[in-house]
C-alpha cells in the first residue's frame, strides 16, 4: 500500500468516525429533546387535569374531616380506614394495611395556665402540653417563674431553679430565610427543655412556641425525657403569651403561675401504614414510593402537617391514572402512621417481610406542607443528580425551579439502608411555621392551587422515574 493510499484510508476512517460520532451524538441529542418534548406534553396534561379538578384538595377535605389524628386516637384510626377506601375507590392495586405499634398519649380534659400577680392581677395564658409530657399534680402546681434565653442561662441559675417554673423564652429567629433551620434551633427548647430544667431541680418547663407568627396559638410537638432525670411536665405558650409573661415578669418578678394538665401516657396501640400501588407493567418489583404521614398533632386537623403530604401522594397516583399513563415501574402511595410520635410506621415499613422481593429505587416524602412547591430535593450521588437535572426543562414548565441535593423525611429515612434514593418535595416555607403543630393548621390555611402544584410535581417526578429509571445506568 502506498503512503498516499494509507493516508487517504486514515482520512476516510477519520471522516467515517466523525460522521458516526456526530450522528450518534445528534441522535442522542434528538432523543433527549424528543423525550423532553414527550414529558413536557405529559406535564402539561397533568397540569391541566390537576388545576381544573383539584383532586388533592378534595382528598385533603376528607382527611381533615376526621379531625386530629394523634397516634393512637380514634381520628388516626378513622384516617387509616378512610385512606384505604380512597385507594380502593381510585382503583389502586395491592391496597393493604401494615401494622405498627404507636405510643398513646392523650392531652386530657383541661389545660390551664394562670398568671397570678398581686401587682398586675390574674391573666390566663393560652397553653398546650408538649406531646408526651407528664401531667401536673391533679390539683395543679403553682410556682414562681424564671425566664431564660438559652440553656447556658439555665446552667447559671444553679440552686435558684429548684421548684421553679423555667420559662424558655427563646424566639425563633425571624432573620433566617430558611425557616426550617430557624425552627430547629428554637424547637430544641421544646424537645430538651424539661430534661435540662429537671436537672436543675425545676418543677416545670414552659416554652415559647417555635414560630415567628405573632398570635395567641400555642404550638405543641415532641419532647424527650431521659432515664434517671425526673419527668417534670412541660407546656408551650403562644408568642403573644410569652411576650406578655416576659413583660409581666419585669413588672412583678414575684408573680406566680398556676398550671394544671391532665395529660396521660396510656399503653401503646396497634395502628397501620396504608399502602396502595399503581403496578408497573414491565418492572413491577421496582418501586417509586410517594409518601406522607397520616398522623397529626392534636390541636388541629393537621391540614399542612401532614394532610397535605398524604393528599399529594394519593392525588399524584390519581392524576397518573386519570391520564391513562401506565407506568413501567410500580408507583406506590404510602400513608405512614406515627411520624410525629417516634416514627414507628416508617421503621416497620422498611423492615417488613413484604419488602423481601421489592426494590425501592426512589422514595419521596412530602412533609413540609401544602404551600407553593419551589423545588425537588434528591439525596443521590452526583451522576444521578446530574442525570435528574437534565429533566429540568420539563420541571420548569410546571414552575419547579430546581432539583438539588437534599430532601428526604422521617418516614422514608429507614429505606436508605437498602440503597433507596430519598427525595422530598420542597415547598415555600415562609408560612409553614405559622400553622405547624398549632390550632391554625386547618383546611382553610391550604390553597387548593398551591397544594395541587405539589401533586403535579410529584406525579411528574414519579412517572419520569418509572419510565427512565434513576440515573444513567438504568432504563
Amino acid at each position: 500500500m502506498s503512503i498516499r493510499k494509507h493516508a487517504l484510508k486514515i482520512r476516510c476512517l477519520g471522516l467515517a468516525l466523525f460522521i458516526i460520532v456526530s450522528v450518534a451524538s445528534s441522535q442522542q441529542k434528538n432523543s433527549l429533546s424528543d423525550q423532553i418534548e414527550k414529558y413536557q406534553n405529559i406535564a402539561q396534561r397533568l397540569l391541566e387535569q390537576g388545576l381544573r379538578e383539584l383532586p388533592s384538595y378534595s382528598i385533603l377535605e376528607k382527611i381533615t374531616s376526621v379531625g386530629h389524628r394523634l397516634p393512637g386516637s380514634p381520628g388516626a384510626a378513622a384516617a387509616v380506614e378512610l385512606t384505604r377506601q380512597i385507594m380502593m375507590e381510585m382503583g389502586l392495586k395491592n391496597v393493604h394495611l401494615e401494622p405498627t405499634t404507636v405510643p398513646h398519649w392523650v392531652r386530657g380534659p383541661e389545660e390551664e395556665a394562670l398568671m397570678i400577680s398581686s401587682v398586675l392581677g390574674d391573666h390566663a395564658l393560652s397553653t398546650a402540653a408538649i406531646g408526651g409530657s407528664a401531667a401536673t399534680h391533679e390539683d395543679g402546681l403553682s410556682a414562681q417563674v424564671i425566664e431564660v434565653k438559652d440553656f447556658s442561662e439555665l446552667e447559671r441559675l444553679k440552686e435558684s431553679a429548684a421548684g421553679k417554673i423555667i420559662f424558655f423564652n427563646v424566639k425563633m429567629e425571624p432573620g433566617t430565610l430558611n425557616t426550617f433551620s430557624a425552627y430547629g434551633k428554637a424547637a430544641a427548647y421544646r424537645v430538651r427543655g424539661a430534661v435540662e430544667a429537671a436537672k436543675r431541680g425545676a418543677a416545670f418547663a414552659l416554652v415559647r412556641s417555635p414560630t415567628t407568627a405573632n398570635d395567641d396559638f400555642p404550638h405543641t410537638g415532641m419532647m424527650s425525657y431521659e432515664p434517671g432525670i425526673p419527668k417534670i411536665p412541660a407546656a408551650c405558650i403562644s408568642t403573644q403569651g410569652a411576650d406578655l409573661l416576659s413583660r409581666s415578669l419585669k413588672l412583678d418578678p414575684d408573680l406566680r403561675l398556676f398550671i394544671r394538665f391532665h395529660c396521660q401516657n396510656l399503653p401503646p396501640v396497634r395502628s397501620y401504614n396504608v399502602i396502595g400501588d399503581l403496578p408497573g407493567y414491565e418492572k413491577p418489583e421496582e418501586i417509586i414510593l410517594l409518601g406522607g404521614h397520616l398522623d397529626s398533632w392534636d390541636l388541629s386537623p393537621g391540614a399542612h402537617d401532614d394532610g397535605a403530604g398524604c393528599a399529594h401522594a394519593l392525588s399524584a397516583l390519581y392524576l397518573i391514572k386519570a391520564l391513562d399513563l401506565r407506568p413501567k415501574r410500580t408507583i406506590r402511595a404510602v400513608m405512614f402512621m406515627n411520624e410525629e410520635f417516634g416514627g414507628s410506621g416508617g421503621c416497620d415499613y422498611a423492615v417488613s417481610d413484604k419488602r423481601a422481593n421489592e426494590k425501592h429505587i426512589l422514595a419521596v416524602e412530602s412533609d413540609r406542607g401544602g404551600f407553593l412547591p419551589l423545588g425537588i430535593g434528591i439525596n443521590a450521588d452526583d451522576p444521578t443528580l446530574n442525570w435528574m437535572q437534565k429533566w429540568m426543562p420539563i420541571f420548569q414548565s410546571i414552575q419547579i425551579h430546581w432539583i438539588r441535593k437534599g430532601g428526604g423525611g422521617v418516614d422514608i429515612a429507614p429505606l436508605a439502608e437498602q440503597g433507596t434514593v430519598l427525595g422530598g418535595l420542597i415547598p415555600d416555607s415562609q408560612r409553614y411555621f405559622d400553622v405547624h403543630h398549632s390550632g391554625r393548621d386547618t383546611l382553610d390555611a391550604v390553597h387548593p392551587r398551591e397544594l395541587e402544584l405539589g401533586t403535579i410535581a410529584l406525579s411528574l417526578l414519579a412517572y419520569i422515574v418509572s419510565e427512565e429509571g434513576l440515573g444513567p445506568h438504568m432504563k
Copy 2:
C-alpha cells in the same frame, strides 16, 4: 532574522499574550467573584434587617388604614399625604408631589341585584358595578337574562338580545398555570361586555368575576365605552352567584333580574404622584425608579393591589438607608396615582418638565401583589440581560429563582420611550386573583415575610444597578 529566531519570537509573543490574557481573565474572574461576595454580604444584611423588622408590613398597615383609594376619593388624597409623610420621616430627599388629573367615578349608596323567579322564588346576588359604569334608571331595571359563553354566542343572539340582560358567564380558565394570562382572557368580558351587548341592543351587561376562587365576592375593575354605542350599565357578580344564576336559568329560563345601581361619573379631580429620592453621590441625575400605584379599587383597601407595591418601593429605600448604603446613582420611590382608571399618573410623570435633566436608566414596578417573589423580569436587550444574569448567585441567596426577559407595568411604560429599561418584580400568582379588585384584598391576605422578601429583592436590585449601572457598557 533567521526563521528559527522568528519562530521563537512568535512563540514568546504567544506565551506573553497567553499570560496577559490569563491574568486578565483570572483578574476579571476574581473581580467578579469578589463583587458577588460583596453583594452577597449586602444581600444577607438586607435579608436579616428586613425579615427581623418587617418594615414593608408596617407601611402597608398604614396605607391600608386609610381604606380604599379609588382615584379622586378622599382615601386616595389621604394616601398621597400619608406616603409623603412616610418619605419625609424616612429622610428621603426631594420629596414632592407631581400633579395628575384623574377621573372621578363613585359607586353610589346602593347596589342591588335580585333574581326574581315564580318557580324558584327570589334570591339576592352579591354584585358590584364595574368601574366607570353608567347608573341604571333611578328605580332600577328589570329584564330577562340571556347567558352566553363568549362574544360569538352573543353575536348569534341577533335581535333576541334587545332589552335583555346579557350574562357573560365566562370562567377564568383554572388549567392555566400563569394566572395573569387566564385573567386577561376572562377580564375581556368585563372590559368589553357592555359595548358588545349594547351593539345587540341589550339593556345591561352582567359579568362573572374573573377569578378561580369559589366564593361570594364580586370583583370589579375597568370597563370601556365606545363613541356611538349606547352606554349601558355593567356589573360583576361572584363566581358562586354566577353558578347559581346559571343553574337557575336552566330551571326557569323566564326568571328576571332586578338591578339597581346609583354610580356616577363626576368631574375629574386633581391628584398627585408622590416622589422621594435617595440621591446618588456620584451620578445623581441617573435614576433607578422603584414604583407602585397608590390608587386601588373601592371594594377593599387594596392591600395586594397595589398597597403591596407601594410598600415594596418605600421599604426598599428604607432598607438601603437602614444599612447605611449610599448609592452611586439616585434610587427613587414613586407612588403613582391612577393606574386603575387610565394610568394618567404614569403618563404625567414621564412627560413632566422635572424629567428634563434626569436619565432613568431602570424603572421597576411592583404591581402583581405581595406574594412570595419568584423572579425578576427585565425588558432589556440580550447583552444587558446576560449581564444582569451574572448577578444570579446573589439573587439566589435571597431565593429569587430567575432573572428573565419580561416585567414592566402600566405606570412605568411611558418611560420606555426615553430609553429607560423597564422591569418588574414577579411574585407567585396562584393566589392573586382570589383577592384582586374584590372585598378580599385586605391586609390579612398579605403575609409579612412574603411581602418583605419582595422588598429585599427590589432593594438589592436597585442597589446593584446603582453601583454597577445596567449592562456591560456602564459602571
